[in-house]
């Protein structure tokens, strides 16, 4: 574009004025057309996600006011799309708390109550099915997960010659999933829970590939949950209804556990196989197990240092 001439003070040369006017007009039209082209995917994304949600800042960089606006917006979205009145909160980690989980494999009988409770508590989509916990049926005398069966369908459990190994997010101290995330949408909180900002996640699924425990789930469709089954107690980082196309995971029910409660899977376990608590508290039950039982972790050679411990003890 030519440098503008004769524009300093006074009236413009009419021809020059006309030419520059035309240039500016054409330029503007072209710019608007290209803008329409650029914003086309933005408009199509608007059908599933509001533009406010699409342009939302990373969770860690939100001011309290902005965060509050976002929580209210999510509540409105749930009310509009699912017809349920819910409360979405931002629940921060407690000081001096690092969560640990222990599971007694001798007690677990593979009844899958934990799976069902997790689905209900964390508002997982019913279709397509999503479950954070997998209960593997293992041949007795073996620790080889390659020989396990996820789809066992007996009339009664435990089946003869089998034991059961529930696997969920191990909340690693050295998590591979957070390192591979290209947009830093997932990170580990001070209390040891690895979380995802579901609005910042781009759904690339690198974390799923990196996790040695297959603990992360991809959300293929907008969640389908009947309004009477929606758990109204929601946390921004845990069990709010996730947008389509993001990766989800177990968060140790942080909306419950950060308020001192037990996680849902532990509350319903009919055999009492699960123990949960604060590892930094020397008198906690989880510490009693770590001191007195022979615990082991899954895939120790992966170097992930899980905060989820298994042990055999009748």
């Amino acid at each position: 574009m030519n440098a503008p001439r004769g524009t300093q003070g006074g009236a413009l040369d009419p021809t020059l004025q006309r030419r520059s006017f035309l240039k500016a007009g054409v330029g503007t039209m072209a710019a608007l057309a290209s803008l329409a082209g650029i914003s086309a995917p933005l408009r199509s994304v608007n059908s599933g996600v509001s533009l406010d949600a699409f342009l939302q800042q990373h969770y860690k960089r939100l001011t309290p006011d902005l965060l509050d606006q976002i929580l209210r917006r999510i509540e409105n979205e749930v009310a509009r799309d699912y017809g349920a009145k819910v409360t979405v909160r931002d629940i921060r980690p407690m000081d001096g708390v690092e969560f640990g989980y222990a599971l007694n494999l001798s007690r677990c009988n593979g009844n899958r109550k934990c799976v069902e409770a997790c689905v209900q508590e964390n508002n997982q989509t019913r279709d397509p099915q999503m479950q954070y916990i997998r209960v593997l049926e293992m041949p007795a005398g073996s620790l080889d997960v390659e020989k396990s069966d996820l789809y066992y369908d007996h009339e009664q459990v435990p089946a003869k010659g089998k034991y059961y190994l529930p696997v969920q997010c191990q909340q690693c101290q050295n998590p591979p999933c957070t390192k591979v995330c290209p947009v830093e949408a997932t990170w580990t909180e001070p209390d040891g829970i690895t979380v995802i900002d579901y609005n910042w996640c781009i759904g690339c699924r690198y974390c799923m590939a990196a996790c040695p425990y297959e603990a992360r789930r991809f959300n293929w469709k907008q969640a389908e949950i009947p309004p009477e089954e929606i758990n109204p107690n929601m946390g921004y980082l845990s069990n709010r209804i996730r947008p389509m196309g993001v990766v989800e995971k177990c968060t140790y029910c942080l909306h419950r556990t950060r308020e001192g409660q037990y996680p849902a899977c532990m509350e319903v376990c009919p055999t009492g196989a699960r123990v949960f608590g604060n590892m930094l508290d020397p008198d906690s039950e989880i510490n009693y197990i770590l001191k007195n039982k022979r615990v082991y972790i899954l895939k120790e050679d992966a170097g992930t240092a899980p905060r989820f411990f298994y042990y055999f003890d009748v």
Binding site: S20, L35, R80, K85, Q131, Y262, P270, T271, E285, Y288
Partner: protein, 202 residues
Amino acid sequence: MIESRLSQLLTLGLGISIVLSSCSPYAEPVDAASLYVREVEGAVFDTTPIRGEFVPLHYKKAGFTYRCTECHFSIQPPPRQNPLQSEHANITLDHGLNTNCLSCHHPRNRDVYVDHDGNEIPADQPARLCSKCHGPTYRDWEAGIHGRQNGHWDTSKGGRSKLFCVQCHDPHSPKFKTMTPLPPPKRSRFSNGRDSGPDSAP
């Protein structure tokens, strides 16, 4: 000059387009009366103990209570009684080597249990009775790692309920019964029958 005007126009256009497209229905509040409201506490999942309520005695209908001495003030069964009769006919005694009723039940006062030394153990402390033989399990139960606990791990934030032995185990047949499991996850469409995880793609 033209460049600056152009950039102004561009900014204006972008601003207009953002304003237009952000007028989505998501931001508007929804009519509260039409919404489903669900209670948070206790509504989400079932946490009842595995045994639940005890089956009442047959004779309770005739005005009897749970006090065993109502019958046993006069009936003195032999120390080793097999098979069980009368009110106890529906009991399945399958407690390992422990087939003697009076190992647990006090021989003279049937309303209580009996300790090793013949002393009474109150009926509301069954864990003390079980600890006679199951020491390590009792120790774990006391430490809170045997049996289910409900409520709060942080007791400063709320209460915690702890189940007694007999709320999960039938004392006459303490081994856990088999359970009907909940249905398995649906197989992925792309798994070709193999195990590839429950998150089935649509």
